[in-house]
Subunit: 189 residues, 2 copies
Amino acid sequence: MTLTNNSKRRKELVSIAARLFCEQGYERTTVRMLADAMGIKSGSLFHHFNDKQEILCAVIQDGMESALEIADQALEGEADPKRRFMALAKAHLSTLLNDRNAHVVALYEWRSLTDSSLGVLIDMRDRYEQLWQQVIDDCAAVGLLHGDQPLIRRFALGALNWTVQWYDAGGEKTPDDLAQALGELIGLS
Amino acid sequence: MTLTNNSKRRKELVSIAARLFCEQGYERTTVRMLADAMGIKSGSLFHHFNDKQEILCAVIQDGMESALEIADQALEGEADPKRRFMALAKAHLSTLLNDRNAHVVALYEWRSLTDSSLGVLIDMRDRYEQLWQQVIDDCAAVGLLHGDQPLIRRFALGALNWTVQWYDAGGEKTPDDLAQALGELIGLS
DNA sequence: CCAAAAACCAAGCAAGCGCTAGATTTAATA
DNA sequence: TATTAAATCTAGCGCTTGCTTGGTTTTTGG
C-alpha cells in the first residue's frame, strides 16, 4: 500500500468511482459497490487508497486539475478581454460537461471531505476563481462590464455550474453555444 | 402513527431536521442525531414520520411551498415586465437566504428521495419554473431581453441559487442588493 | 375527572457499513 | 529463472445504521 499513488490503474479506479459518486452520491455509494464496479473485491480497494474518503478526494482533485489545465490553455496567447472571457467560459463548460462526473462530485460532495483533504482542494479552487476574477476585472477595466466585479464572477460561475443540472449532452446545443448565450446575456457577445 | 401529519410539532421537527441536513448532508445525519437535536429518543421519531426519507421530503416540500407563496405574493398587482422580474428575483433570494436550510437541502439532497416522493416535488418545481419563464418571456416580448428564453431562465436561476454557496448573511449586501446587481448585469437595471 | 389519543421511551434486532489481516496470485526486474 | 514487488482474494471484526416492538407518560376533549 502506497500513499498518493498515481498509477494508471488508480486513475481508472478514480474514474469509475467518479461515476458512482455522481450517480448516487458519496455516502450512498459503499466500498462494495465501488469494488463491484471495478471488478475487484472490496478489500482490494484499500491497496490503492488508504480509506474511502481518499477516493473522493482523488476524484475531485483530478477534476480540478484538468479544469485548471484547460483554462490555462484556453487563455494562452489570447489578449483581448472579451475574447479571454469567452474562451474561459467555453473552457469551463467544456470540462464541466465532458468530465461531468468528477465535477458534479466536486460541486455536490465536498462537504464529505475531511479538513486535511480540503486544504489542497481549496487552494486549487481559489486559483481557479482568481483566473476568472482577473478576466472579469480586465473586461471591467475597458468598460465591457459594469458593477461589483467579484459579484459578477459569482453570478457567472453560478450560471455556468448550474448547467450540470439540466444540460442534455444529446441535445442540439453545444457547450460553446451556451457560453455564447451567456456572453450575449451579459452584453459581451 | 399517522400519514402526512401536519401538526405543529411536526413542523418544528422538520425545521430542526432541515438544519442538520443542511449542515452535514442527509446521509451523514443519522436518526439518532436528529432525535438528539429534537430532544427525543430515536425511536420516537418514527411516531411522526414513517421513515427517514419522509423527513427529507417534508423538509424540501416545506421549503418549496414557502418559495411558491412568496413568489406569488411578490408578483401580485405588478404589471410592468421589468418590475415583475426584479420582484421575482428579490423574492427568490429572500426565501433562499432566509429559509436557507431547507433550500440548500432541496438543491443538494434531492437525489436521496425515492421516486414516489419525487413526483410531488417535481410538480412544485415545474410550477415555480413556469412562473419564472412567464416573467422572462414577458420581458423578451417587450424587447428587454434577447436570446433563448428558457436558457435565460436557467442562467438566472443558476446564478441566484449559487448564492447559497457564498452569501454571508452578516455581510453588507442584502438579498435585494444582489437582485439589483443581477438585473444590472443582464441589462434590466 | 376520566377515557381516548397522541407523544414518547427503553431495549434491541438484523443488516450493512468501513476497514483489516494474512494468504495467494500476478506482474515486473535482473 | 529466481527474487521482489504489486495486486488481488478470503474471511471476518467491530461498530453503526434505520427501524420495530411493547409498554409508559403526557395531552386533549367531553
